[in-house]
Subunit: 323 residues, 3 copies
């Protein structure tokens, strides 16, 4: 029996969670769930995926910014569905050192004919324009402070898996929301799926983008945790802070917004703690909290491979068959 993916992602770019309808999101989750079940049982799931010349297809993951986890996740997702992959990290450094524009580097890589291209890049109009004109399908693996759609998909998948539904979940995003592409992609996706979203951050970290206007802000972490069914920590994006800093010290931030054991007592017993990683222990989350059973951070990492595998099958127009 073949699971039909409602969305026609084949040969289109996937740049934002706002592109996805609820049906399309469900289709990706269906594939990811099937992959996970089969992987748990048999240690692989490539036998469920079919398509002409599948074993000769190639993912090129071109990361202009540094990445270990997302880059490896895409590479393993490619391997697990049975296609080839190669990845480049920190491409911006080599581009700039050779005097080539980032957009030209991207055009060159695309000209070599990858079957699917996965890019992480500092958002700019020039790059946006270059990407929109590329012939091969492109997956956004993180664009500046704007979007990280595959992360939002795996976050939502992990919530669904542990809470049974997304509808009517109350998700509070804690921390540096202003500089977080993860928060943006999650907001769109979670609201699309019927969840309520709020955030908890000092005013210095409040997002300025219009779509956040009607989103509730908690100033007090414990109050936020009492409200929430899911607490999603964020990484402090120091590399995106201006040289003047953010107007509050790390010690102040930590004092008021670090998720520690005593804070987590205010989260319901079957609530969830998520974080996109890397976690800076002691600042964002205390080490003790990482041993709490509600912590599903490593589950998110595991689910990332299944979600990205599902995405790749959709982008490449591959069939997925339930056996």
């Amino acid at each position: 029996m073949s699971i039909v993916l409602a969305m026609n992602l084949n040969s289109k770019h996937f740049l934002s969670t706002s592109q996805l309808s609820p049906d399309e999101i469900e289709s990706i989750f269906d594939r990811a769930r099937l992959f996970k079940e089969e992987f748990t049982k048999r240690g692989r799931f490539n036998h469920l995926v079919t398509g002409d010349g599948i074993d000769q297809k190639v993912l090129v993951a071109a990361f202009f910014e540094p990445s270990t986890r997302t880059r490896l996740s895409f590479q393993l997702a490619a391997y697990r569905i049975g296609i080839k992959a190669t990845t480049f990290d920190n491409l911006a450094i080599s581009s700039v050192s050779k005097g080539e524009s980032l957009a030209d580097t991207m055009r060159n890589i695309a000209a070599m004919g990858p079957d699917v291209l996965c890019v992480r890049y500092g958002a700019s109009d020039e790059l946006d324009e270059a990407i929109s004109e590329l012939e091969c399908p492109v997956i956004n693996a993180g664009s500046g402070a704007r979007e990280h759609p595959s992360q939002a998909l795996l976050d939502a998948f992990t919530i669904l898996e542990n809470r049974g539904s997304l509808d009517q979940q109350r998700v509070v995003i804690v921390g540096d929301v202003l500089h977080s592409r993860v928060a943006n992609s999650n907001l769109t996706l979670l609201m699309q799926m019927g969840a309520e979203v709020a955030y908890c951050a000092p005013p210095e970290f409040a997002p300025k983008d219009g779509r956040w206007k009607s989103v509730q802000r908690f100033d007090d972490l414990e109050e936020a945790l009492r409200w929430a069914t899911v607490c999603m920590g964020l990484r402090i994006q120091k590399e995106r802070h201006t040289s003047k800093g953010i107007g509050l010290s790390m010690a102040e931030y930590r004092e008021r917004y670090r998720i520690g054991t005593s804070q987590l007592e205010h989260l319901q017993k079957d609530g969830l703690l998520l974080h996109p990683g890397p976690v800076i222990r002691g600042i964002e989350i205390s080490s003790a909290v990482l041993r709490d059973p509600r912590n599903k951070i490593l589950d998110q990492v595991s689910n990332g491979v299944f979600i990205r595998a599902a995405l790749l099958t959709a982008m490449l127009g591959l069939e997925v068959n339930k056996q």
Copy 2:
């Protein structure tokens, strides 16, 4: 029907375009053309390539100098013919930091038994000697300022594709000819195939090697473009200039040798503009010119994968069959 490759590259090194006879060059072009046609139609061409245990063969691309485009091109070429590949960038840094000679690093990599080894390296007698003694076939992916033979093959292939023949083409190479391995490899190959070659550069960039003695030098870019059917820009190889500089400023160079819209008006309507990349926009070529239909720079990049795929099949003694 099997296309027989006249050259017996199998188990020999490929280090210079001067090794190739016109028949051998044509054979490589035949394979590359077949690969490109099939890729355009079906998105792959590995089904045309056969050989014992082909899917277990491994290319190791050991780049002692930095490279993104050539390294990825060889890797994709390997994937596309159905073999495995792994690449190392910037190996010179790790060799030197560990106190190992570059030649020893190369001998160690070769001792691990790759089926074919592709190397980019700063030319030296010690490395030349080490390479000549390696048992596995070696492809030169750029040796200092001396040779870049696979680049010359893809350049000539792109000319042939767009101009119908190489014979009697007039190719003018513009820019830093003195420090260009691409220019050297092209000179030999193009003359071998019956093309006329000239160059256009300030005296400071005039090559000193003997084989350039009888090659016409244009001082004036517009005059050169009126003469040419093909204009090949070059990258300014700042990393090979001495600390004293080259005796002329970038502003002077740009004023007289940058290929801009008004200069390109002097090139015939069905002429070609090529460049091995990366392009430093504004210095070597203006952005406007990159939108000219005579610009085939991204076609060169695409063709690079087919040319290198053809080379790899030859080096590995694989059969290529027309279906």
Copy 3:
């Protein structure tokens, strides 16, 4: 006919040569020998290895410290047995720059579900604990100054291959024994297999670990070479020396412990010279000695791929069949 591997390495970590019984060591050597014979004859040996879904299994080699040779060796070993592989170099730099602990980086990589994980890392209690809790099988590819078990296996295999047996060989380890993980792993393995081990080093390089207490130290290199059947040089591990240095100058060290032509005259005619690499010519070993027929350093490198291929088949529970 199937060669049965006595050891049940499947789904267990392989962190130290002290884990291995003589029978288990012999089993790994049997597989490696078979792989080498087949590779010499047919250029591949993957056809001897079988297992459910073998071509979809993935090795992730996560090197927190820099490595070219060991990393490539594991990758080629994976390719040669027919599984997939991806490697990360210098991971410690990216972990630290993002504020993530090395143990968390390792947990994240393991959470993505590699079939086997190969790690090189600076030894620490935190990492040891993290590794012990990982679900996927882990191979130690070098842990600080403590262990490098796959290197010791390939060293012993090379001795066995050239000397016919390990039993009653006299192996002298020359140089920076104090900081050498290779020396530690070799000591355990060689004694386990019946060889006599001694070392030759200035007192500053004498190991402090208890297991070296009863090991004979030679102060004089020529005397040591007269005693030995096998001379194993070591790399000077400058990166592990304290800022105060080691109490002797490189000139002094070189004067007394460099293995040169005149020193090697004291080694028996059919003795062996080994070194784990990279060799710092002129300090540890003279260039002239590298041309001596007793030098098997590049053989060690070649054998490394077969030994690691054997290890991987054992870790993954794959069958190896003699045809």
